[in-house]
């Protein structure tokens, strides 16, 4: 297993390098001149050139790229073009917010989504199944923007139960954004669990289990669910990776100061080092989440071994 992990980690370095190269090139090919934005709109051409030189943007691309990769290998992720502070400082400051929101969302999604999916599968084509299916369709279709504002108006403005926005009120602040986010993921998880459970329930080993006279809940959890869980775990893992890279719309609506807002702000301002630092960070998280998911497979399905 450790050899497998090591192999995967080596592969991860190649992936991350690839991602960084693509981001580096994309940023430099989209229109918009950071030197002009940093120097100011009424700055003279001399000032713009001075800014370009200070930011190292006057160098040929291959040299910029070499400096960029070299710095990262030395653990220097650069300084923001605008604040002139190390980008990691801003990323680390926002990490707890993103992490909390991602965790609470994942918990809500999992504890609600999997049981609902099982329920729908075992009551296939009955009214419970239909209600859950229509409900999850609604969940997928509702834009988080609209849902978020709706929840704010109901629970903050009218009922005055919860904070409308911001992160200053501890666990109470997180309820509305986490619920908004999880409703979308919940729909996905419920549908996947349902489909995957239905498939498992039709397998011979389930029939055998029932024939042996095992009680229904044991058939469901020990035999069917365990086999049905693999695709669900994969999706949950990907979702967690996605959530850790920030949920831009939900963060915007709720004024939640996570990584998503920082990333969009930085892209719009052409803050190259900040975008590069964030993408590096997000890529690393994705790689590790994927690895964790693969290792989890072995725990769920004893037939899977990483030799």
């Amino acid at each position: 297993m450790w050899r497998y992990v090591l192999k995967r980690l080596l592969g991860a370095i190649v992936t991350i390098l690839g991602v960084l190269t693509i981001v580096f090139l994309l940023l430099r090919f989209i229109p918009g001149d950071p030197a002009r934005l940093v120097a100011g709109l009424t700055a003279s051409p001399e000032e713009v050139e001075a800014a370009r030189e200070r930011l190292g943007l006057n160098q040929p691309l291959p040299i910029q790229y070499g400096i960029f990769i070299g710095n990262i290998l030395r653990g220097d992720f650069g300084t923001s073009l605008f604040t002139r502070r190390p980008v990691m400082q801003d990323i680390v400051a926002r990490l707890p917010y993103t992490f909390q929101l991602a965790l609470v969302t994942m918990v809500l999604t999992t504890v609600l989504g999997i049981p609902l999916g099982i329920l729908a599968a075992t009551r296939e084509k009955m009214w419970v199944d239909h209600v859950i299916s229509v409900g999850s369709l609604l969940g997928i279709s509702l834009p988080s923007y609209a849902l978020g504002l709706l929840l704010i108006v109901v629970f903050a403005v009218n009922l005055k139960w919860l904070p409308a926005a911001g992160a200053g009120d501890g666990i109470r602040s997180i309820i509305l954004p986490a619920f908004t986010l999880s409703l979308i993921f919940l729909a996905v998880i419920t549908r996947i669990t349902r489909g995957s459970m239905l498939e498992a329930l039709r397998q011979d080993y389930v029939r055998t289990a029932r024939a042996k006279g095992l009680p229904n809940h044991q058939v469901l959890t020990r035999h069917a669910l365990r086999n049905a869980l693999l695709p669900v775990v994969t999706i949950l893992g990907l979702q967690f990776g996605g959530l850790m890279s920030g949920a831009v719309l939900t963060e915007t609506v709720f004024g939640w100061p996570g990584l998503g807002l920082l990333l969009t702000d930085s892209i719009f301002n052409r803050d190259y080092p900040m975008v590069e630092g964030l993408v590096l960070f997000i890529a690393v998280i994705f790689v590790f989440v994927n690895l964790a998911v693969d290792l989890l497979y072995a725990a769920i399905d004893p037939r899977i071994h990483y030799g």
Binding site: S44, A165, F268
Partner: protein, 528 residues
């Protein structure tokens, strides 16, 4: 087996959530003593010399300048009790207020003021040398402990007007290497570096912290002037306008700026809140590319101005939150004189186009989205009005940085015929409102004259207004210049964007200052 494993994973996750949650709860100042303001910008950079807009407005609570302004744009005493202008109008001698201390306990004096102004001329701080500032603050001289003389290559008027800008505020010289701030001089090959993110000024509030959630300030016990009522001020960063509005209606903030414009009327009818519409100085206009052959004819440019119903756009798209332009500069600018508006007259527009021999005109039009109030919506309405008089100008849009990239190209490479922009000058003097966007030395890509407008007579009037020491003569020069540019119509003149402020009912002392700024420093519950 699986169940036990999964449930232990759940437990771990729940435990992790609990461990990380307390980090978010950090405001321990009781809500009834802290005044909360929700703004739409997530601020990360507090360096005063580059702060503009709302960031400068936040810093106004912490930093003070030599002079200050009010609703009308008048120049009033600030850290300077009084000043004297020299015979030639090129020097201002400031008598500084005594007994003023910085938030770190350092004394405020001429030395400290000269140091703060000097930062504008220091390439390490600004990352560049700014030719405009070099002329504006040509020489800064400490006369004695409380007397400071500033010589300018422009005029005293213009100097004073510029000094209203927050970035010229006094900071404690000692603070540039304390509280996490750092400053290093350049040495040989290594360039110097300046990071100033913990501002130490003389204002009624002192800076406490800047977090991803907001900025926190605390009342400064040794403030020289009137003490504010609230012990603290918290700026909450809430990017979405509808959310800011909800926050206020839910009673979770005390004041917001820029609510959704479509809700202003409803807010005005809501007894729980008060709406204050501050007139703004941000000109919203559409630059007409005067180098394009068809647009070289002033009649075509005037036709475009007559073809658009500005009044209707302001009422229907901006819900009244703007003032139709009567000149290139806002009405509270020194030297403003009403030269317009171009009334809505599509018939006259058609006639002018016919005289110019123009028919079936197609113009390439671009506007940003989400940068100025209702920007792209207004661009679309303009296109609809133009189509009535036979001009096809369907607007395209992109994000602001891309858009700026599109604007900053020389005339020969410019593909746009019409481009929307919004400009707020650095001070309430018409010369400042005109110079940066229409003087012929500022033609893009050199500056922000995006119409490529080149009228030497006009530019000469502005030059003279920059240097003539006589206030009355200046006002006349500026008025003449406004008349010229209005006739020339290198822009489709639209309106000046207002600055709406909404706060909860039962408060008093909330006001605004000229130049898109709120002022709640002396906010207090009514009758207290």
């Amino acid at each position: 087996m699986v169940r036990t494993k999964l449930s232990s994973v759940y437990l771990m996750v729940v435990a992790l959530v609990l461990i990380f949650t307390p980090a978010a709860a950090q405001s321990n100042i009781s809500a009834d003593e802290t005044f909360r303001i929700a703004i739409g910008v997530a601020v990360r950079d507090l360096e005063p010399t580059v702060a503009t807009g709302i960031i400068a407005n936040m810093l106004d609570y912490v930093l003070e300048t030599l002079v200050q302004t009010d609703e009308t744009g008048a120049v009033l005493p600030g850290l300077a009790e009084s000043w004297e202008i020299s015979e030639d109008g090129k020097s201002v001698t400031f008598k500084l207020r005594q007994g003023v201390t910085f938030h770190d306990g350092e004394p405020f004096n001429a030395e400290a003021m000269a140091f703060s102004l000097g930062r504008w001329k220091n390439p390490v701080v600004r990352g560049r040398a700014n030719p405009f500032t070099e002329q504006l603050l040509a020489n800064i001289e400490v006369i004695d402990e409380y007397t400071l003389r500033v010589d300018t290559l422009f005029t005293a008027d213009l100097l004073l007007s510029n000094l209203l800008f927050t970035g010229y505020g006094a900071i404690s010289p000692k603070s540039i290497n304390e509280h996490g701030n750092s400053y290093t001089e350049p040495q040989g090959e290594t360039p110097g570096a300046s990071v100033y993110q913990f501002p130490i000024g003389t204002g009624p509030y002192k800076f406490v912290s800047l977090t991803p959630e907001g900025m926190n300030l605390e009342r400064f016990a040794d403030y020289w002037g009137e003490m504010p009522y609230y012990a603290g001020v918290t700026f909450q960063f809430i990017p979405e306008a509808a959310t800011r509005e909800s926050l206020l209606l839910a009673g979770q903030t005390d004041m917001i700026v820029l609510p959704p414009v479509s809700d202003i009327v409803a807010l005005q009818n809501n007894d729980a809140v008060e709406v204050l519409i501050a007139p703004g100085n941000r000109a919203i206009y559409i630059a007409l590319n005067t180098t394009r052959e068809v647009l070289q004819d002033a009649r075509v440019r005037q036709a475009i101005n007559y073809a658009v119903d500005k009044e209707a756009i302001v009422n229907d798209l901006l819900f009244g939150a703007a003032t139709v332009a009567t000149s290139i500069v806002s009405e509270d600018s020194f030297g403003h004189c009403a030269t317009g508006p171009y009334e809505y007259n599509p018939e006259l527009a058609r006639q002018l186009l016919a005289e110019a021999g123009v028919s079936n005109l197609t113009l390439n039009f671009a506007a940003p989205t989400g940068r100025f109030l209702q920007d792209f919506q207004v661009a679309q309405a303009v296109a609809a009005y133009l189509s009535v008089v036979g001009i096809s100008a369907e607007p395209t849009t992109s994000d602001y940085s891309t858009y700026v990239g599109q604007l900053f190209v020389p005339a020969e490479a410019q593909t746009l015929d019409m481009s929307m922009f919004g400009y707020a000058p650095p001070g309430p003097d018409a010369a400042l409102g005109m110079y940066f966007i229409s003087h012929n030395t500022q033609i893009t890509p050199r500056g922000l004259n995006t119409a490529y407008y080149n009228n030497p007579e006009y530019s000469a009037l502005i030059d003279e207004a920059f240097t003539n020491p006589d206030r009355n003569v200046r006002a006349q020069l500026l008025c003449d210049a406004q008349k010229i540019i209005w006739e020339d119509a290198p822009w489709l003149f639209l309106y000046f964007q207002d600055f709406p402020i909404v706060y909860r009912a039962g408060l008093e002392g909330i006001t605004y200052r000229s130049g898109e700024k709120f002022d709640s420093i002396y906010a207090r519950p009514s009758g207290s």
